[in-house]
Amino acid sequence: MPALLIKNGRLIDPSQQLDRVANLLIEGHRIAGVDVPDQSADEVLDAAGQIVAPGLVDIHTELREPGLEEDETIESGTAAALAGGYTSVACLPNTDPPIDTQPSVEFVRQKAARARHCHVFVLGCVSKNREGRELAEIGSLVESGAVGFTDADRPIHNPELLRRALEYCLMFDVPILDHPEVLELSHNGIMHEGVTSMVLGLPGMPADAEDVMTARDLRLAEYTGSRLHLMNISTAGSVELIRRYKARGIRITAEVGPAHFCLTDERLRTFDAHCKVNPPLRSQHHVDACLAGLADDTIDVIASCHAPRASEKKLQELDLAPFGMVNLETTLGLVVTHLIRPGRLTWPQALAKLTVNPARVLNLDKGTLQVGAAADVTIIDPELRWTVRADQFKSRSRNTPFEGTELVGRAVRVLVDGQTRFQLA
């Protein structure tokens, strides 16, 4: 078996509370040794000054295939994931048709295997056709490989359906991932409701639209005892509710995306459709609450919330432009620039939210450098300064509000199953 020694790097693996300069040995496609002495190997990589981490895991990625290939394909999306340092992504079922049957799960897995970029895990629909009426065939979907269930950007509106879904998932030990939003309070909304939306005359999406649904979801998670993951949290109210329920020992997890820890609704002042996301960019008060929730581990996961949209869709009036921004290739840089360098999170804390925590949400044996685990490794240059240029994205879409922004920190080499699949030119 070919051996690869990555030496002198700062090895950070939150799954085993590891953070020291050490050597990592890979044999074949598995981790063979952590903290091993210098030794000969078929290939030796000097990672001095760099961070050697478990491959990043994203549990909130839209790959858009089948049906929406103008935005992204499984090939382009997983290439983008690699370039961003991810070795595993779980993709949302908001495709056309939605992923609510066994063949559709198998289609995604086959396409992903053929692309040979990163691992792809499939999230299935909670409800048939994502209509929020009847449960999808969750058991069959689990059998064909689905690892969690969500109706993606559509909140599970009917509380009875959510309750049944949570209860039904108990027997498969898979989580429900919900996007908490009361549509009646936010419909036609374009941005966060507040003073900025008042000045701009743009229809608002109040924070309460999220808070009310978060509260409902948490009650039902407590009542059913099932695993609930709250996607894309953005409000002070949600963070506070999650903190309270976690203190009571309820099995819940939560994520935030880059949009909600480094941008505010003031960005809409340029009427830039790239800043139109759901949940919307919030005011500083909410951003501060998300930062606090990340710091005290109320928020377990930093997700990319990668939502690629073709330029012809985004280059429209704000009411017609769809929600979403691409983030697979910018999330790590944003985490380093906005969370680690200002001292809001330590490297191990941030990496936990990018590796082992998201893996645990979906029961994946990823996000770890334990001996015997698949050798998914991301080598990060923590000091590398680079400028976001959307035309260099591997993603098929360019809808980023960070164009031209200088970031610090980037994945320079990414290994999947022991093989280098991405190397920064």
């Binding site: 003073v195 701009l200 005359g201 941008l263 009427f271 830039d272 960019l281 012809e312 280059l315 429209q316």
Partner: protein, 335 residues
């Protein structure tokens, strides 16, 4: 050519904008420049009756993606008074119904060598998007519920004509503040010129958020009425409301209609304004709309003067130097 016309030929140094998109971002100097220019144009044209051909050889295009009679006619007439050619474009007669984006439509019209585009659109910010994709000047003729700068200017011009100065006056904007672009443009213009601004209407249509800009927020017209020098009565925008924010039109009229009984409690020299179209019997009764305090038709005439001034000012600026936005993006958290 009269002396005053000759003076008008020189473009004021204070105006450097290629576009007129909003009043929020205008400086006091820019605001007074455009108001003073409008007054001068009105004088030089015998009250906007005669031509002042300063824009001979120029072409303006009216791009109205939303219905309008008054504003479109006013812009068209203003351009003609200045000697420009006018192209009219309506959404229904356009390729928009064939699936073309409005940016593509606008670029096609620009390729016919248009100098100014006057655009009305249902979506806030659409003129900003347009200004990023065309080289010609852009004037916002109303973008959804955001701003309607020339309406704000003509309202303020009307107050200045009748009162000499805006500073120190108490001006109440009454009605559907939430959905009113006229309200927003008035608020910014009036605040910059030193007026005391009150927004008054049902609590579902008036945000307390305005207080942080120094605007007084009131729900009872009767309680503020005795203090007001000017009332600007806004139309209820039923077409922009998804759920009705008050129980009935009858109840609205009961609380907010300006009628003879309320006139009796108002200041003797109060000005009654309305941006139109007015709903007689809802926000204002006919006797008040047509009464001696009403300056509603003066507003319409001043609209011509303001639009002549706007067209001329933006035509005098060759390139877009300042970024076409209400402000620098400040949303990135500083680290």
């Amino acid at each position: 050519m009269t002396g005053e016309t000759a003076e008008l030929m020189s473009h004021p140094a204070a105006w450097t904008r290629r576009d007129l998109l909003d009043l929020e971002s205008l400086s006091l100097a820019e605001l007074t420049t455009i108001l003073d220019t409008a007054c001068a144009f009105k004088r030089a044209t015998d009250g906007c009756r005669t031509r002042l051909p300063l824009l001979g050889g120029k072409t303006t295009a009216n791009l109205f993606f939303e219905n309008s009679t008054r504003t479109r006619t006013s812009f068209g007439l203003a351009a003609k008074r200045l000697g420009a050619d006018v192209v009219d474009f309506t959404a229904s007669s356009s390729s928009l119904s064939k699936g073309e984006t409005f940016i593509d439509t606008a670029k096609n019209i620009e390729a016919m060598n248009v100098d100014v585009m006057v655009m009305r659109h249902r979506t806030p910010g659409a003129p900003w998007l347009l200004s990023q994709h065309v080289r010609c000047a852009v004037i916002n003729a109303g973008d959804g519920t955001h701003e309607h700068p020339t309406q704000g200017l003509l309202d303020i011009m009307t107050i200045r004509e009748h009162r000499g100065d805006v500073r120190g006056l108490t001006v109440a904007l009454v009605g559907d503040i939430a959905h009113s672009r006229t309200a927003r443009s008035n608020i910014w213009g009036l605040l910059k010129l030193g007026a005391h601004v009150i927004v008054c209407g049902p609590s579902t249509l008036v945000s307390r958020g305005w207080e942080q800009y120094g605007v007084e927020v009131a729900y009872s017209l009767d309680s503020i009425l005795p203090r007001c020098d000017v009332l600007n009565l806004l139309r209820i925008q039923f077409e922009r409301q998804s759920t009705r924010p008050f129980p009935s039109v009858r109840e609205y009229a009961l609380l907010y209609a300006m009628n003879a009984a309320r006139m009796a409690r108002a200041k003797k020299d109060i000005l009654i304004m309305a941006p139109g179209p007015i709903n007689r019997g809802v926000e204002v009764t006919p006797d008040v709309a047509d009464g001696p305090h009403s300056v509603i038709l003066h507003q319409v005439t001043n609209g011509l003067a303001v639009r002549m001034a706007a067209l001329w000012l933006v035509c005098g600026v060759k390139d877009r130097t300042c970024p076409p936005a209400t402000g620098v993006p400040t949303g990135c958290v500083v680290v």
